[in-house]
């Protein structure tokens, strides 16, 4: 279980001080999938980075399974069981997909076990396992490998920052299945997904809305989802569906 208590985060730039997160208190209970949504620039990604330890809050406290982790480093938090999937996956020259999955797992891992994780995210394992995690991979491929590393890490809390960003429509279908699978096997862990996609919101146990750096709403899916209709998130979801239909039509035509 993760608890954020009165978290604020600000930066200083040439226009003076700017508050990005304003006094957010939030609990992510065990055995739940929480989807965090809200307009772009509202502070969702910053909040995720604060939880992973990449950014330090200006004020407030973070507790993970009852322990104060506010001053813990990225590494310490990772070892305590926090996993974080980047919105834009990082590339490495010379580090292969299997190397990254092994590092994520933190122990020796056979090639066939590593392949399992790739298959789960819809990549033909044999074709990818020895590839370098570099520019030769497409954005969608990198994204799926990023998600595979989080599956391999098997954290108590897994955070995904816009997993749908940069992924093609066909992969998206598969992604939903990955999250459904994670939800089914949640076993004392919790999942936090930052997303605009209605189909991801649809599989959430709880939805959190962050707007203008503040916690705008939090509640069960059935409670929150209807209120999001006619908002940016819903519009994004609608556009996405339309694109999906167009792509399917184009594929059928070919």
């Amino acid at each position: 279980m993760l608890e954020l208590k009165n978290i604020s985060f600000g930066v200083e730039d040439e226009d003076g001080a700017k508050e990005i997160i304003r006094d957010i208190s939030l609990t992510i209970p065990d055995n739940k999938m929480i989807v965090v949504t809200g307009p772009n620039g509202g502070g969702k990604s910053t909040l995720a980075r604060i939880i992973a330890g990449i950014e330090k809050p200006t004020s407030g406290k973070i507790y993970f399974n009852g322990e104060d982790i506010t001053d813990k480093s990225i590494t310490e938090r990772a070892r305590m069981g926090i996993g974080f999937a980047f919105q834009q996956p990082v590339k490495f020259k010379g580090i292969r997909v299997i190397d990254l999955i092994r590092l994520a797992k933190g122990s020796e891992l056979s090639v066939s076990d590593a392949c399992e994780y790739l298959s789960e995210v819809g990549l033909c394992a044999r074709e990818y396992i020895d590839r370098e995690v570099n520019n030769s991979l497409s954005g969608g491929e990198l994204k799926r490998i990023e998600i595979a590393t989080i599956l391999a890490k098997a954290s108590r809390l897994s955070i995904f920052d816009e997993p749908e960003a940069g992924i093609d429509l066909w992969s998206f279908q598969n992604l939903i299945q990955v999250f459904e699978g994670m939800r089914e096997n949640i076993n004392n862990s919790s999942i936090m997904i930052i997303s605009h996609q209605e189909r991801i919101l649809n599989i959430a146990d709880e939805i959190v809305v962050i707007r203008g750096g503040k916690l705008a709403a939090q509640g069960s899916r059935d409670e929150i989802l209807p209120t999001l209709l006619n908002t940016d998130s819903a519009v994004n979801g609608y556009c996405f569906k339309q694109q999906g239909k167009a792509a399917k039509a184009a594929a059928a035509a070919n």
Binding site: T75, G94, G106, T149
Partner: protein
């Protein structure tokens, strides 16, 4: 290996580092230790003979020799030794062979140890050669470990040569000069991997002349400079015919490391197509952060990134 070749533990370790040799090599070999040959085997197709007048060997490989290898490692364990060695390789037409060179210096003494190996390759028509050269230094004496290798490559029509040059650790001073001349249809591939640390200094100079129609060269260096070390990568490709050339220097700098990349292209024919790329920078912050979110410390993350980069 110990019994047959009379090498001590340090020499054994150096041989393992530079030539992956843990036993007496299969095929032809010449092992040079502290200025003299301590083991040599020629085969039916590969003849190794000593040069007269100067230090070094001639290696003659019969035309059509396939899937055979030559190992010619050099080890030095005596402080204060300086040597210049000339090794010439005559590779017959249509051969397909691997040549493994390399030099390991262990210097625990106060004086500098230096090995300057000049390798000349005459690659016959249609022949295919893989050349591997590794450098390694160890020992904590004040004396420097100095290696100044030189390669000269002469490639006949439609020949192919791949050169893998590796220097990862322990060599204080290196000045490497590589030249190549390619006839029509010949192809040269160079993969250099270099890491310098401490106060080390490493200079790599390449001068590749693409003289024949359809010849090509691909010279790629990946390097890491840490500590107060300095590297210079000076790669020049000259296109004298319709040809393809590419050079690339991709480097990571750490601590106070410094790198000077000087890519050079000269096109003397309107159908010469030449490219160069050079990128130098420190390890990207997001690479470190990604590996730290997987549970690695910053130092472990750095090691993984550098090891991968130089693999």
């Amino acid at each position: 290996m110990g019994e047959q070749l009379k090498v001590d533990e340090i020499q054994k370790r150096l041989l393992a580092e530079v030539a992956d040799l843990h036993e007496v090599p299969v095929g032809a070999f010449n092992i040079r230790s502290n200025g003299e040959s301590i083991g040599r085997v020629s085969t039916a197709n590969i003849d190794i003979t000593s040069k007269e007048g100067v230090s070094g060997i001639d290696v003659r490989i019969k035309p059509g020799t396939k899937n055979q290898s030559v190992h010619i490692p050099v080890v030095m364990t005596v402080s204060g030794l300086t040597e210049i060695v000339y090794n010439d390789f005559y590779i017959g037409e249509d051969c397909d062979v691997t040549i493994v060179a390399g030099c390991g210096i262990d210097n625990c003494g106060p004086k500098d140890s230096e090995h300057d190996g000049i390798h000349r390759f005459y690659v016959g028509k249609g022949a295919k050669v893989k050349y591997v050269e590794k450098h390694y230094g160890s020992g904590d004496g004040k004396g420097k470990r100095i290696l100044n290798p030189g390669t000269e490559v002469y490639m006949e029509e439609d020949s192919f040569m791949e050169m893998e040059m590796v220097q990862i650790k322990g060599v204080d001073d290196t000045n490497r000069t590589n030249t190549a001349e390619l006839a029509a249809g010949a192809k040269l591939v160079v993969r250099e991997r270099l890491m310098t640390h401490g106060e080390q200094n490493a200079v790599s100079i390449y001068d590749v002349k693409l003289n024949g129609e359809g010849s090509s060269a691909d010279v790629v260096s990946r390097s890491v400079a840490r500590g107060n070390s300095f590297q210079k990568f000076d790669a020049k490709i000259v296109g004298n015919a319709p040809c393809n050339g590419h050079t690339e220097c991709d480097s990571i700098i750490m601590d106070n490391g410094r790198i000077l990349a000087v890519p050079g292209l000269a096109a003397n024919n309107v159908d010469a197509e030449l490219f160069h790329e050079a990128a130098i920078g420190k390890i990207a912050g997001d690479q470190l952060i990604k590996l730290m979110t997987l549970g690695l410390t910053e130092q472990e993350a750095e090691e993984q990134i550098v090891n991968g980069f130089l693999k």
